[in-house]
Amino acid sequence: MENKKYSKEMLFDFYQTMIRIRYFELKLTEYFTKGMLYGNIHTSIGQEAVAAGANKALEKTDFITATHRGHGQIIAKGADTKIMMAELFGKSTGYCKGKGGSMHVADVSLGILGANGIVGAGIPIAVGSALASKIKGTNEVSMAIFGDAASNQGVFHEAVNMSAAWKLPVVFLCENNSYGVSVNIHTVTNTDTIAERAKAYNIPGVTVDGNDPIAVYEEVKKAVEYARKGNGPSIVECMTWRVRGHYEGDRALYRSKEVEEGWSKKDPIDNFRNHLLKEGIEEHEIVSIEEITKKEIDDAIQFALDSPLPDYSEVTTDVYSDDNGRCVAR
Amino acid sequence: MATEVIMPQLGLTMEEGTIVNWIKQEGDKVNIGDVLVEISTDKLSSEIESEVEGILLKIVANEGEDIPVKGLIAIIGEEGESIDASAAPKTVEDIKDEEAVPKAAEAPKAAAVTETGRIKASPLAKKTAVDLGVDLIGLSGSGTGGRIIQKDVFEASENHEAQTAVQKAESEPTPAAVLAPAVQAAGADIVKPLTNMRKVIGKRMQASKQIAPHVTITTEVNVNKTVALRNKLNSKNADVRFSYTDILVKMAAAALRSYPIINSSITEDSFIIHDRVNIGIAVALDEGLIVPVVRDADRKGLKSITAETKELITKARANTLLPDEMSEATFTISNLGGYDIDGFTPVINLPECAILGVGRIVRKPVINENDEIVPASMMVLSLSFDHRVVDGATAAEFLKKLKGYLEDPDNMYV
């Protein structure tokens, strides 16, 4: 981590984004255990630096597609934690009026083209978004976020290939946490990194420390600028660690204790907090941000709890834009 | 001279028989009395014996085929005899040739009764039959597999109307509208068109009174024991409520078993004594009257009769009865006891030959066998019967039997 390169405001921003994600997801685990959340919850606890760093490199007008483990990326792109929490509780005040839940949060006005429940499916969608920018002649960059395991989907290859061929403004952001549910990437892949596949497409590829938000920010920033200038896509691979299981309830017994302990010393939030102190930021200032953020998440929970579930009549709305009633009836 | 073997009528209600197994094969010599073929109907299995001596020249109906009564199934003749062209079974080629020619007016009709006795009719035909008051029983179907389709119902309806018209002309009945001085609506009078149900009831009641010579006999019954029985049953069974109608259905069905002639229908030149005892129950609706049917009441326990009548009456009132649930009654009960009526002369529901009218139960002083005046629960029964079929003495005996059951339900078991 470099010294004095970034303003205090910016450092605080990285930190607050990370703790916002962490507090948000810790609340999810708490309420999941209480049996008050529906469906599956995939947390990104331990991976917050990737989300905070990468999204900081994007403009508000840029686009992302996120994964099933997408809370962090979506919060980092600017989603309102209240509305998001409400969605995760299936409430009518949520981003998707309770129709999407954890894996489908979207806010197009913030450039969030949705999390996705199908591994790899968001990758070509981001490429399509980049194609739209190119056709419209606008200069947004689209960032496809995906895990190491998604890089073995056929659409990864198809999407990277097409965007490379047509020099579309895309950044392929790989959150490499080494596991696709329970399978270690090295047991199913013959390359050391995902980024080195870039060679096959004749595009830039780089692997960075995914637990350092500044390192992520810097590499993604380069890729974004490269794309925005019309040079085409790059792959940025961020090495990180999924602290919890694939989903809540998975004890992740397929991972070795030593490796887990090794990563626990690299917690992005703990490390970055120390970094802030080293940078001369006062403890009380950090605590103050932490308290504000805790309060924000408590408010989000309260908002979600207080919000109503959608009315039964909502079940048939929003399937179609045109002629919805008739198309749903038969 | 070749002899045609036809599907015999083995029961009054039989409309077709199924070829089960040919015992004799083509070319076999047959003697009088030899079993030619085994057949079955919905009710029974039987064998057809040869009535002539000769050679089984041709099997026309194959195993598994349903053949209507009187339909040709085989030809017996002398060795080497050529079969009359008209009687000869059609070859596939013949049939093809016929199909190539545009069809003349009539498609082949077959009896529309399935092996289980269910009437095969299209949903549209059933609905149309209810609307037009056409009885599906006995109709032939021109649809696939003998299914009654709407056209058949229309035709039946026309026949029915034509028949009624003929009967009308013969007996020169005077319709109410002609007999009565002409009326015209005035002031606050309400003019309502006749509903289909009203029209059907009108037609049927008029036909019944015109066609069937009605005789009504009445008797008063001491129903103390039946009342006690009902009270006992109802207190013992919290989940069911037995009505007097239910009990009467059960008792009448038992009595009908002893006097099957009361459980019969009349046709042009015969009467059919029904094997099954199906009791119709007249149910009053706002717009008229409907008669759902408890089938095989003689074989059912009181509890299942009660459950069934309850369901039928609910359905009748909700207008959701299926045609099947309103057809094939062999005897009807009309209970006006609930309306404080003592006795009345019910009109027979043709083609049945009798109907029982039930009055209210009223406490009265009666003289018992010891010449004492005692209070008793009394009920008047009226039986209207068709004098073409039933005579007074038989009807009286039937009513006496029923009376005996009501006076002492134990009589049903002796």
Binding site: V127, G128, V155, N161, M162, A165, D318, V319 | S142
Partner: protein
């Protein structure tokens, strides 16, 4: 009126929409420089540029997914699968993305894309290039499914499909492309969800779509010689479904035969039959009959393929069976 082929009619519809709305783009295999194997987009790339008429790599899942993303951003992609059979490698973008995006996002996002795919039996293309897969799509809520038969319908419907804000699967029958028919001059639109009575009749309703419309008309002409007056109802789109038209016709004729070229088992005919039986039971004078392809793999040899999918004589036979004639 003018006389043009079905493929030219589709081409005209696409061309008019490309001119009308610059957000409309065309992409797929061989649609650019070659102008599609049936010349439907011939000359388009020169006229509109390679950024609006895009030759894709053979990456069906990739470019369908890409179309979804572009559509979410307000582009109106008309994406072509060279054969509908290729949906096998690319179903996810259609069924899990395009179809569901609007609902899953609580109505925030529309996916106004058109998936054009030729389909159909009869070209001796064997197992993997001869299927009719409309039920793949009708089974997925969120998709609209259009199956035009005539040149006039094809043009009017492709224009409606492009203007529709939902993902529309537009299934063209390959053996109809060369059919030359009269169509009106100038622009016109045929709304989705409007069936068309291609022949009026009173004895029986033949419900069908795509190429089988022509077979049904041939059958009806044959039946007329025997005094049977069949009505031929061309659904044109399966979702939305013109139930009113079906209801009216069934209530008129009381007998129904449904004809489609896809295999019978789980075909759309089963769905229609169920709806008719559920809602119009009392109108039926006979069981609803289906005429459809056999439940086998599309064969190659002409004898086998002809035995595989319905022909006019099969329809005639079915009608006679229903009417017991």
């Amino acid at each position: 009126m003018k006389k043009i082929t079905v493929s030219k009619a589709i081409s005209e519809g696409l061309h008019e929409e490309m001119l009308r709305d610059e957000n409309v783009i065309i992409l797929g295999e061989d649609v650019g420089e070659m102008g599609n194997v049936f010349a439907i987009t011939q000359g388009f790339q020169e006229e509109f540029g390679a950024h609006r008429v895009i030759d894709t790599p053979i990456s069906e899942a990739g470019f369908l997914g890409m179309s979804v993303g572009a559509a979410m951003r307000g582009i109106r992609p008309v994406v072509e699968l060279m054969y509908v059979d290729f949906i096998g490698v690319s179903m996810d973008p259609i069924m899990n993305q395009a179809a569901k995006m609007r609902y899953m996002t609580g109505g925030q996002v529309s996916v106004p894309m058109v998936l054009r795919a030729p389909q159909g039996s009869g070209r001796r293309n064997a197992g993997q290039h001869s299927q009719n897969l409309e039920t793949f799509f009708t089974h997925i809520p969120g998709l609209k499914v259009v199956c035009p038969s005539t040149a006039k319908d094809a043009k009017g419907l492709i224009k409606a499909a492009i203007r529709d804000d939902d993902p529309v699967v537009f299934l063209e029958h390959r053996l109809l492309y060369a059919k030359k028919e009269e169509i009106p001059e100038g622009e016109y639109i045929i709304p989705l969800g409007k069936a068309d009575i291609k022949r009026e009749g009173k004895d029986i309703t033949i419900i069908t779509w795509s190429r089988q419309v022509y077979f049904a008309l041939e059958a009806a002409a044959e039946l007329a010689k025997e005094g049977i007056d069949a009505e031929v109802l061309d659904l044109r789109s399966l979702v939305p479904l013109d139930w009113e038209a079906i209801r009216e016709s069934v209530c008129k004729t009381h007998n129904v035969v449904i004809v489609h070229e896809g295999v019978k088992r789980s075909g759309f005919g089963g769905e229609l039959s169920a709806q008719i039986t559920e809602e119009l039971f009392d109108e039926l004078d006979s069981p609803v009959e289906r005429v459809a392809a056999l439940n086998v793999v599309p064969p190659f040899a002409p004898t086998l393929e002809d035995a595989f999918f319905p022909h006019p004589e099969d329809i005639v036979k079915a009608v006679k069976k229903v009417l017991n004639k």
